[in-house]
């Protein structure tokens, strides 16, 4: 068979789209596979921006429009091997299966990691039961790629506003957008107690940028595709890749296997939307399916590295909500406009809390200032009957609710892993990804410690009632108050399942994201992260994809 493309990229989210731009601009012909639909970009004329997304709660929040469908392409979950083959079948940390991937549904908070986050073992030391490793790259080496990633996506932010931020070589490409009213309330209270809230670095246009319009604050941001392309979803890199004339995008095309021969990949097997199987050959393969589908594909392809799928991390989310005596209109604006980093810092109080719990240290995560915005989700929480409309009018769970969500750092553990479910298959007959996952005591202690501090801020903000919850569900002071929260972490910040490193005996990929087992395969997504940090992974994985794809494009195929 002949080879029509130099490189195949599997997945069109932020990582894959970035790789597509780098490889096609380096002169390689590139084929991008995406299992989901294409609503993002006009393939006939990438210069024109199509508008297909909409502000529709039923379509996005209830009917799985961005995919994957939890019946057609389920995942499974169990807490430990002693819980049987699985406890849950269906939706497990799903990121959209659509052209643009997770970039489409995110509300675009795009923080950088801090210097320390690349060297947790060196700076803070190991923790029993956790498999902590330093990254094979430093912040100083990453900084130019971070700056470039911010320009590619279009990130709005305020340099210098966060006293804990890593150094940066220049300003953000855009100033911050308008602050949401509720965030101003909680930020003022946080400042009063000595915390340092700042405008969230956000991939949403605050000015016209890269030919795309300024955001108009419609409120359908997190979980929705942007109807006007004001969001920094991967439309920009995909468009530039397609405009080189060397890239092709094939949506609704599911790669089922990487073909391997003598320690090298030769191409992929893929399934079209009618279920027919095909083969496509190429000398280089980039895997960018997300940290759950990537290890699944590696395992389905017969790769055998013992570490594939291990160390899966989700952020442990700690929620602290306050019912306010005034309306907060969280449905107006870009979902989250303020964050603070104080809980990421291992200060004296955090050290004391760790010591009390018998741990060397604890680390929290980025805290988002937020408030719920959607009516159907609100309505389902209230009882039926005469109270329904009274509750909807008073709106304690939406229009009077302000919240904090801490994206708590989650330690890697060898026993937390993604593997192939022994019996459950997707609609194509392929075994699905199964997650086995339990929190480390570090996460619980950090959640308790920082959660109580967040409750103090909410009190300072004059909340009439304070509600707390965690995901995954825990017991004790932070026991869930939200019936829908389960043992499956709801965080979409998934990482760690194909870690990169300098030593083939403890990693899946080398320092450039190439599989030790098949070096013409590069992993571009957050699977390679050795540790999770308390920050969302997207900007970091785009920056890493830039760095690693450049090396991959010029290296021998």
């Amino acid at each position: 068979m002949s080879r029509d493309f130099d490189a195949i990229i599997i997945g069109s989210g932020p990582a894959g789209s970035t790789a597509a731009e780098v490889l096609s601009e380096a002169g390689l012909s590139v084929l991008i596979f995406e299992r989901g639909r294409n609503h993002l970009i006009d393939l006939d004329n990438p210069a024109v921006l199509p508008q297909r997304f909409s502000s529709d709660e039923i379509k996005y929040m209830i009917r799985h429009f961005l995919g994957p469908d939890p019946w057609a392409e389920p995942r499974t979950f169990r807490m430990s091997a002693s819980d049987g083959d699985r406890q849950v079948v269906g939706e497990v940390n799903n990121l959209p299966a659509t052209v643009g991937g997770g970039g489409v549904h995110a509300d675009g908070k795009l923080p950088r990691l801090r210097e320390d986050d690349f060297r947790v073992e060196a700076e803070l030391g190991p923790i029993a039961g956790a498999n902590i490793a330093d990254w094979p790259v430093t912040y100083d080496e990453m900084e130019p790629y971070y700056a470039e990633a911010e320009r590619i996506i279009g990130v709005a932010g305020l340099a210098g506003a966060n006293p804990f931020a890593a150094w940066r070589s220049g300003d953000y490409p855009m100033p911050p957008g308008p602050a949401m009213y509720g965030s101003l309330v909680t930020s003022a209270a946080a400042e009063k107690l000595g915390y340092h809230p700042y405008p969230a670095p956000t991939g949403v246009n605050s000015i016209e940028y890269d030919g795309r319009p300024v955001c108009n604050n419609c409120g359908f941001c997190a979980y929705f595709g942007c109807p006007i392309h004001a969001k920094g979803d991967p439309v920009a890199p995909l468009r530039r890749a397609l405009l080189t004339g060397r890239a092709q995008l094939r949506s609704q095309s599911h790669v089922s296997r990487i073909l391997l021969q003598n320690g090298r990949a030769t191409g992929v097997e893929w399934i079209d939307s009618r279920g027919e199987r095909h083969t496509e050959l190429a000398g280089r393969i980039v895997v960018a399916c997300g940290a759950m589908e990537t290890p699944r594909l590696l395992l389905l392809s017969g790769l055998t590295n013992e570490h594939i799928g291990r160390n899966v991390m989700f952020h442990m989310q700690t929620f602290v909500f306050g019912v306010m005596p005034f309306r907060v209109h969280g449905h107006i604006g870009r979902s989250v406009t303020h964050v603070h980093d104080d809980h990421i810092i291992v200060d004296e109080a955090a050290k004391a809390a760790a010591t009390d719990a018998g741990l060397p240290w604890i680390k929290g995560g980025l805290v988002e200032h937020c408030s719920p915005s959607h009516l159907i989700a609100e309505a389902k929480q209230y009882p039926w009957g005469p109270q329904h409309k009274m509750m909807m009018r008073d709106s304690p769970m939406r229009d009077h609710l302000l919240g904090f969500c801490m994206q708590g750092d989650d330690l890697p553990q060898l026993t937390n892993r993604v593997d192939l479910d022994p019996a459950v298959t997707d609609i194509w007959g392929l075994p699905v990804a199964r997650t086995t996952y339990q929190l480390h005591s570090h996460e619980l202690v950090a959640s308790q410690h920082h959660g109580s501090r967040l409750a103090q801020i909410m009190k300072e903000a004059k909340a009439e009632r304070i509600l707390t919850a965690t995901s995954p569900k825990t017991t004790g002071d932070l026991a869930t108050t939200h019936a829908d929260i389960s043992q499956v972490p709801i965080s979409r910040h998934v990482a760690g399942t194909a870690r990169f490193g300098a030593d083939p005996s403890s990693s899946v990929c080398d320092q450039w994201g190439r599989l030790w087992e098949a070096p013409n395969v590069m992993i571009a997504d957050s699977s390679v992260f050795p540790t999770g940090s308390g920050y969302g992974p997207t900007l970091t994985l785009v920056a890493l994809s830039l760095r690693n794809s450049r090396a991959f494009a010029t290296g021998a195929s």
């Binding site: 909409s54 709660e57 057609a72 108009n216 419609c218 409120g219 389902k380 039926w384 409309k389 609609i427």
Partner: protein
């Protein structure tokens, strides 16, 4: 003419939705706000072409732009299989039973409404509420759909005359107009 429900089923569901969200001074009951039509459209989604699963986009036309929500999306074969399984049930069809038998929404409604019985609409409101408490599981399913029908986009069959949004002074989908910076940041 309903898409799925028989006139008798329709009447029972009307009585039910009027109790799940009763009328009050400010707004009509759940049935008058379109909940039953939303549910009937979901149950009968495949009697329409394209099926009424995903409304179109980008704009509803309510705040400018060319209206396109009524142009429903086509489904791929896999998407159609998933949604038919969910709505019609697996009915012993092997490709629908990959994850085990699925009771479809149509059957859940047919059974639940039969259990409530034809006399349900003629019971007094207190007796209706007691019945709804008794059959809790079905009531919960219907209530979730009622919430979708009252507060979702009217293109799905519910939210008649935008009644669900109007009584809450909620604007709904405001693209492409959006909100001003002052509306975002002000009290």
């Amino acid at each position: 003419m309903a898409a799925f429900l028989t006139p008798r089923q329709y009447a029972i569901l009307e009585a039910m939705c009027a109790r799940l969200v009763p009328a009050d001074d400010g707004a009509p009951d759940g049935t008058e706000m379109g909940a039953v039509d939303y549910i009937d459209t979901l149950l009968g989604a495949f009697t329409f072409t394209p099926p009424r699963i995903w409304a179109g986009g980008p704009f509803s036309g309510r705040f400018g732009g060319e209206p396109s929500f009524s142009d429903f999306e086509d489904l791929s074969p896999a998407e159609e299989l998933a949604w038919r399984t969910r709505i019609e049930g697996s009915n012993g069809i092997p490709e629908r039973e990959r994850l085990g038998p699925v009771t479809g929404l149509q059957e859940i409604y047919t059974r639940g409404l039969a259990e409530l019985g034809e006399e349900f609409p003629s019971l007094d409101p207190a007796a209706q509420d007691d019945r709804l408490q008794e059959i809790g599981d079905f009531t919960r399913v219907v209530y979730e759909h009622v919430c979708e029908g009252l507060y979702g986009a009217p293109e799905y069959g519910g939210n008649r005359g935008l009644a669900g949004w109007h009584y809450l002074n909620y604007e709904g989908d405001v693209q492409p107009r959006g909100f001003t910076d002052a509306e975002v940041s002000g009290a």
